[in-house]
Structures are given as C-alpha cells and as structure tokens.
C-alpha cells in the first residue's frame, strides 16, 4: 500500500466517521432544529405553561379580521395546517406578504383560553416566482380566485409552455 493510498483511506474513514456523527447528532436534535410548530403538533411539541414558541402554518381563508387596539393596527386570524386550527391575535403591523392562504410563522404564546397571542408575525414566501401578468391572466381566465383566499395554482399549470392559460388572458 502506497502512502498516498493510505492517506486516502484514512481520509475516507475520517469522513465516514464524521459524517455519521453529524447525521446522528442532527437526527437527535431534529425537533429543536424546526423553526416552528404546526397547529396539529401543538399538544405534543409546543412548550406548556404560556411559554413562547413559534407557530407556523397557513392563514385560513376568510379568517382575517383587521381591528384597531388603542389606536394601533391589530389583527385576528386563524392559522391552520389542514389538521388543526389555532386562533391568533396580533397587535402591530403585518408584513407585506401577509394575506389569506399565505404561510406565516408567528412568535408568541398560548393563552389559557387557547388563543395564540403573537408578538411577531412573519410571512413565508414559497418557491413559486410568478410575474404579475401571469397572475392577472390566471385570474382573468378563471383559473385562480384569490378573493376566496386560495393559493395560486401550482407552477406546473402556468409555467408549462404547452399550456395556453397565460396566453388566453394576455
């Protein structure tokens, strides 16, 4: 065995050891690496006793109620992940991307009555990048009804050069 070969084998062995150590560590700490807790996992994963955590999910369609608390803008809405739903109260300015059907991550704590009191609301952006004219064309052609709080159609529908949807509207 040449020295080069030995060095290569030692390096591979170290890499294998380090890689498995990292994989085990990450899987052991997997829960704490999650940024937020979805509504359906609150009972099992969220801290109890009014301690702060991040709640994440989609803003339920038709649930947003904008109010004013002591002259400050405030909002009440529900966050859902399909399985469970949590009511959220927030006093402050919502981010630009906040709307019904949008993903949000909000920091706060659960009150005894089960309402989530948010101190911070962040909007999540998904992996879809759609030009304005495509969005307009989708609405015009009846393929998307944003007023119902529906998320835009999947990219496969409007991003395929074969589909005529974008052209039908423009």
């Amino acid at each position: 065995m040449t020295r080069k070969r030995r060095r290569l084998i030692v390096l591979l062995a170290c890499g294998l050891g380090l890689g498995s150590a990292a994989a085990l560590t990450l899987s052991a700490f997997s829960d704490t690496l999650e940024l937020f807790v979805p509504p359906s996992r609150i009972a099992t994963d969220a801290p109890h006793g009014g301690r702060a955590f991040r709640l994440g999910g989609l803003v339920e369609a038709g649930s947003v109620e904008r109010v004013s608390v002591a002259g400050q803008p405030a909002a009440r809405f529900r966050v859902t992940d399909g399985g469970a739903t949590v009511s959220v109260e927030y006093v402050g300015i919502l981010p630009d991307l906040f709307r019904e059907g949008q993903g949000v991550v909000t920091l706060g704590s659960l009150r005894p009555d089960g309402v989530f009191k948010a101190q911070e609301v962040l909007a999540k952006h998904d992996e879809n990048y759609m030009p304005k004219d495509v969005a307009d064309a989708l609405k015009k052609s009846g393929n998307w009804h944003p007023e119902t709080g529906a998320a835009p159609p999947a990219a496969a529908l409007w991003n395929d050069p074969q589909t005529k949807i974008t052209k039908a509207g423009s």
Binding site: K4, R7, L8, L11, C14, G15, L18, G19, A22, L26, S30, L33, E34, L35, F36, P38, G56, L94, P95, D96, L97, F98, V105, E120, V121, L122, A123, K124, H125, D126, E127, N128, Y129, M130, P131, K132, D133, V134, A135, D136, P152, A154, A155, A156, W158, N159, D160, P161
Partner: protein, 256 residues
Amino acid sequence: MSASQAFPVPSRNLHRFANPGRFLRLSGRLLPWLATIGIALSAVGLGWGLTLSPADWQQGDAVRIMYVHVPAAWLASFGYANLAAASIAALVWRHPLADLAAAEISPVGAGFTAICLATGSLWGKPMWGAWWVWDARMTSVLVLFFLYLGHIALVRAFDDPQRGARAGAILALVGVVNLPIIKFSVEWWNTLHQGASITLTGAPTMAPAMLWPLLLVAIGAMFGFAALVVARTRAAVMERRIRGLLLARAQEGEAA
C-alpha cells in the same frame, strides 16, 4: 534554491499541472477568457434581471434581489466544494498547487457568502418582516461563512506555511458536513426560508422570464469566481517564486 527546485515535477496525471511554470503559462492563456465570459454573462444577466424581467405578482420589484442572492448562494456552496477538493488534493496527493489554490479560494468564497447573507437580509425585511431568523437554512449558511473565515485565518496563522495549509485543509474537510445540511435544511426541517425553485429532478417553479436571467448571472458568476481564483493563485505562485529568489539571494550574500 531556485523556484523550479522548490516544486518537484512528477510527470503523472494531476501533477502535470503542478509545474508552476506550466501553470502560469496555461492559466495566463485561460484567464482572459474566464474573466471576459464571466463579466459579459453577469452583465447581460444582471441588466436583464434588474430592468427588463417582470416583477413578481406579490413581491413586486423586490424579486430582483434574487438575481444577486441566488447566484451568490450557489457559488458560496460551490466554492466550498472546490475548497474541499483542493484540500483533498493537498492532503492525499500533496499536490503543490492545491495548497496555494485552497488559500486563495476561501476569501473569494467568503465574499460570495457575505453577498448572499446581506442580500438575503435586505430581501427578508420587506418580504418576511425580519432581517434575520435563526432557521436551519440561514444558520447553516452563517456557519459556512464562519468556516470560510476560519480557513482564511488558519492557513495564515502559522510561521510555517506548510503547517498552516495542512491545518486549513483539515478544517475545510471537516466543514464539508455543512454542505448537505445547507442544501437539505429546507427539506429536513421546517424553516422560514423557502424551498428550492430550481431542482435537478423537477420543473422549475419560476417563470421562464425570470429563470433565464437568473441562470445567465449564475453561469457568469461561476466564470467570475473561477477567474478570481485563478488570478489569485497566479499571484500566489509568483509571490512564492519571488520569495524563493530573494531567499536565495540573501543566502548567497551570507555565504559570500
């Protein structure tokens, strides 16, 4: 001690390029091409992306930050993969240019990572509502930035450059663990950062009018990255030559 004695010249595969004279000749011919293609593609892509491409339906013009952010992010990881490859070549085959190249890759990679973090933060404030969140993607990219900084500091921290290069190579290889974490962080854990729009397996979830300028900038930035590293490695080779010549002259002076 002359420069050609400082580098032994075995004539097999990888070591063909180990001869510093040959490296300087080849890279001297390559460099103008790398730089020209890099600048031209980046300029066209950025001009297209920043002015002509459509605004996003919900992000508006803020989507244009992506044309800088995404190529910088790709190159931050790609650059680290190159740093790791150079480190393997240095540790296993003792390739004499690999150490020099590794020391020159890390500052360039750190620069691209800094651009990625800064532009991401500028986009995050108006879109998400926060400059920074400790989610898995952002934290792992910050770790990548610190790995680059650590490598920059470590290879220069020893009086003997050989020992510095060796310690740096080991650090670089340990840090490779971070690359799959960056890539898959948005799939393994829930994060604020969005998932990948462009994947090897599926159709992109980005309109073609946005995708093309992005790919142009990305390819241009890759050429630019290569040009920067090649230019810096050339400078390092020449620096080492000059140091060798000066040392030889000083020793001659002592002997006389």
